[in-house]
Symmetry: C2
Subunit: 224 residues, 2 copies
């Protein structure tokens, strides 16, 4: 969960745009997919997180639809607002000291990429390495390996903070690893994993936080 | 993983029983299912854990088969030896201060029960509650809820250390909860979950350890 002190996640997005309920629902579903459904703090889904979008229509525009140019602009802005809010949720995770944005590509499909990204994002070993700023590509590839998705380990590449620590199964030398370790000390780190499936475009991004002793203390010290 | 200082898990079980390789393989597969494949420390499967069984045949018995009375006795002893070894592995998990033996029953099938037991065993919130000796049945039922298995929450019962903290969806009062909290302070705790599916016999057990600040320190402080 995220911040049990406030019980649960309640998100309200308000707009004065004119948009009918069915169209707004489609906009919200698309935006949630790449924001609130693309973050994880500990994998423990809350039983009552809620995202609400309310449109009062005061702008008196032509009603927005997902396929119109104005609708696409509205959808992009809604997705950007929700992504920013979702990022704040991860930054506020119990005991979090840094975030990682895990992007998996070169997968056979988006669902394969999503499964690998989630396995990496929820691996306790990856999350503790993130806490220790350790560019441990072995733990990343290990989590990818048990995600239940087919790939060839000898075609996998991993970048940490943009630094290539594994190139098609070949580990980088100590100088490059030191650069990656330095990049990991930032409050937000990009971890990119290319599964190397030839000509395949499957792609997904999930944002997670590190696992710190403070997370454990926080969640073991209170009773609910 | 379990104890990276010794690199990985290598298990060798030796017997002087006479048993042909194909039969021994079946004995081992059955024993591994309820021992080494029924434990988890952090859900991060190792890439090179190994269990070997060697039989030199010196006992000169009639070759053992899984279906004979002697074979069943051999299988039961092998399973007991492996279960004891697997329990030691969990007790030796990084930073572990106690173990929980999670048994799920009243499921539609064994595979459903196994998925629920694994979700509960790998939930960071359950594992931190275990560390804090907090009889938090809400976190247990929440993990069961996202295991991807159908059940009726109003028919679920949970026992912690044999104490009924939830009976068919009804939480116990504070006196009983205090008894459960006291039971959780032991080094080994039984957590039993009845999913309440009428007349169904699906059942699984998984043993896990608590998640402590020491786990995080250990896994964030060394580089591999």
């Amino acid at each position: 969960m995220i911040a049990p002190d406030v019980a649960t996640l309640l998100v309200c997005v308000l707009t004065d745009a004119r948009v009918a309920a069915p169209a707004l629902r489609r906009f919200v579903q698309a935006a949630v997919r790449t924001s609130f459904n693309a973050i994880t703090v500990d994998g423990d889904t809350s039983t009552n997180d809620t995202v609400l979008a309310l449109a009062n229509g005061l702008a008196s525009n032509v009603p927005l639809t997902p396929d119109s140019p104005d609708g696409r602009r509205f959808g992009a802005v809604l997705a950007a607002v929700m992504a920013a809010l979702a990022d704040m949720v991860v930054a506020d995770g119990e005991g979090a000291t840094r975030r990682a944005r895990i992007t998996v590509f070169g997968a056979h499909g988006n669902e394969d990429a999503r499964r690998v990204a989630r396995a990496v994002a929820e691996s306790q070993l990856v999350k503790t390495a993130l806490h220790g700023a350790d560019p441990n590509w072995g733990r990343i590839v290990c989590a990818a390996g048990y995600a239940g998705v087919r790939f060839d380990p000898e075609r996998v590449s991993v970048w940490i903070g943009g630094v290539p620590v594994l190139r098609r199964g070949e580990p980088a030398g100590p100088t490059i690893v030191r650069r990656a370790a330095s990049a990991m000390r930032n409050s937000a780190v990009a971890i990119d994993v290319d599964l190397g499936a030839r000509g395949r475009q499957g792609r997904a991004t999930i944002t997670t936080s590190d696992l710190s002793p403070a997370y454990v203390r926080f969640n073991s010290a209170y009773s609910t």
